[in-house]
C-alpha cells in the first residue's frame, strides 16, 4: 500500500479517464480493483484516490463511456462492476493517440535547449 505520491498528481489528473478506460478495456472491473491495479502498474509511485476514481466513474457513465452493474455477492458484500462501452473504447483509443503525440511533443519542447547546444 502506497502512502506517498512522489509523482505530482496534477500531472496525472488530466489522464485519469484514459487510465481507467485503459484498465476497463480488457475486462470489467470494480472500483477497488482499479485502485489496486493502478498501484501495481505504477509500482507504488501513484495512488489513485477513491473520490477521484468515483468522480471519474460518474462523469464517464453519464457521458456514456462506461456502464455499471452489480456483481454477485462476495465475502465483503456485493460489488459494482464497470464496463467500457463502444464509445468509451473509441475515446480511449483517441486519448491514447493524443497522449502519444503530446508526449513526443512535450519531450521535444522541454528538452529543446539542451538539444540545440
Amino acid at each position: 500500500m502506497v502512502v506517498e505520491t512522489p509523482i505530482s498528481s496534477d500531472l496525472i489528473r488530466g489522464h485519469i479517464d484514459t487510465i481507467v478506460l485503459g484498465l476497463l478495456n480488457g475486462q470489467d472491473r470494480y472500483g477497488y480493483e482499479i485502485v489496486k491495479q493502478v498501484g501495481v502498474l505504477s509500482d507504488g509511485e501513484y495512488e489513485l484516490k477513491e473520490p477521484t476514481l468515483y468522480s471519474a466513474f460518474r462523469r464517464m457513465e453519464s457521458a456514456g463511456l462506461i456502464s455499471s452493474y452489480w456483481g454477485e455477492e462476495s465475502q465483503g458484500g456485493r460489488r459494482k462492476y464497470y464496463r467500457i462501452s463502444p464509445d468509451g473504447r473509441e475515446t480511449y483509443l483517441r486519448n491514447l493517440e493524443d497522449w502519444k503525440r503530446a508526449r513526443t511533443l512535450i519531450d521535444r519542447l522541454v528538452s529543446g535547449e539542451a538539444e540545440k547546444e
Binding site: 477513491e50 460518474r58 456485493r78
Partner: protein, 242 residues
C-alpha cells in the same frame, strides 16, 4: 466493520439518501472493507489498517458535493432543464421620472405656447395668468418627481402596480376639465384658458399611457427581488398635478 460504515455515512451527512447515494456509499464501504482486509493480511493490526484505509481514502467532500448538487439522473443522458420564466419587476422610480419628464415637459411646452399665443392674440388678463399658473403646476410636478427620484432611485414595483389603472387618472382629467369649464363659463373669458387646463391636465393620464407602453416594450424591467414595495405613485403625483 462498523467504523467504516460510520466513516462513509458521516461523509454524506446532509445529502438526501437517494438510491444513487446509497449505492455510492455501498461501493465506498466495500472498497474500504477490502482495503482493510488486505492490510490486515499484510500483517497490520485492525486499528492500524483502518487508519491507513481512511488516510488513503482522502477527502470525500468533493465527491459528496457532486451528489448534493446533482439530481439522480445517471441512467439517462442529462436532459437540459427547461428554463423557468424569468420573473421581473419594474424600476418604477426611473420609469416614473422618464414618463413624467416627457409628459409634464410636453404640457409645459404646450401651455407656454398657448400663453404666448393668447398674449399675442390680445387675450390677456385671467387667461395668461391661468396658463402661467398651470405651467407652474406642471413644473412643480417635475420638481416633485425629481425629488422622489433622488430620494429612492432604485425603487422597484411589480409590473401590475407599475402599470397602474387608467381609469382613475382619466376620471381626474375629466374632473379637472369640468371644473375648468365651469370656471370658464363663470368668468366668461372666451373659453381659451379652459383648453389650456384640459391639455395641461391630460399630461397625467398620458404619463400612465406612456408608462404602459414602455413596460410592454420591456423597458425599465428589473429581475425579480424578494420584496415587493408595490408603491402606487398615483396618489402623490395626482396631488401634485391637480
Amino acid at each position: 466493520m462498523e467504523a467504516i460504515k460510520y466513516y462513509v455515512k458521516g461523509a454524506f451527512v446532509g445529502v438526501a439518501e437517494t438510491p444513487e447515494v446509497l449505492e455510492q456509499q455501498e461501493e465506498l464501504i466495500a472498497d474500504m472493507t477490502a482495503k482493510v482486509a488486505d492490510l490486515v493480511a499484510d500483517g497490520r493490526s485492525e486499528d492500524e489498517a483502518l487508519g491507513m484505509a481512511i488516510a488513503s481514502m482522502g477527502d470525500l467532500s468533493g465527491l459528496v458535493k457532486e451528489f448534493a448538487t446533482e439530481e439522480p439522473a445517471q441512467a439517462a443522458p442529462v436532459v437540459p432543464a427547461v428554463p423557468e420564466p424569468v420573473m421581473v419587476d419594474v424600476e418604477i422610480a426611473k420609469l416614473r421620472l422618464h414618463t413624467v419628464l416627457l409628459c409634464a415637459g410636453g404640457a409645459v411646452a404646450v401651455l407656454f405656447v398657448l400663453t404666448v399665443l393668447g398674449a399675442l392674440g390680445g387675450i390677456g388678463g385671467s387667461v395668461v395668468i391661468a396658463d402661467l399658473l398651470l405651467t407652474l403646476v406642471a413644473l412643480a410636478w417635475i420638481g416633485v418627481e425629481l425629488f422622489r427620484f433622488h430620494r429612492n432611485a432604485d425603487e422597484i414595483a411589480t409590473v401590475d402596480s407599475a402599470r397602474g389603472s387608467m381609469k382613475r387618472p382619466l376620471l381626474q382629467w375629466v374632473a379637472v376639465c369640468a371644473v375648468a369649464f365651469v370656471l370658464n363659463l363663470a368668468l366668461d373669458s372666451d373659453g381659451f384658458w379652459a383648453w389650456a387646463a384640459w391639455i395641461g391636465a391630460a399630461a397625467w393620464p398620458a404619463t400612465l399611457w406612456v408608462r404602459h407602453k414602455l413596460i410592454e416594450r420591456g423597458m425599465f424591467l428589473h429581475p425579480k427581488v424578494e420584496a415587493e414595495p408595490a408603491l402606487d405613485g398615483a396618489v402623490a403625483a395626482a396631488g401634485a398635478c391637480g
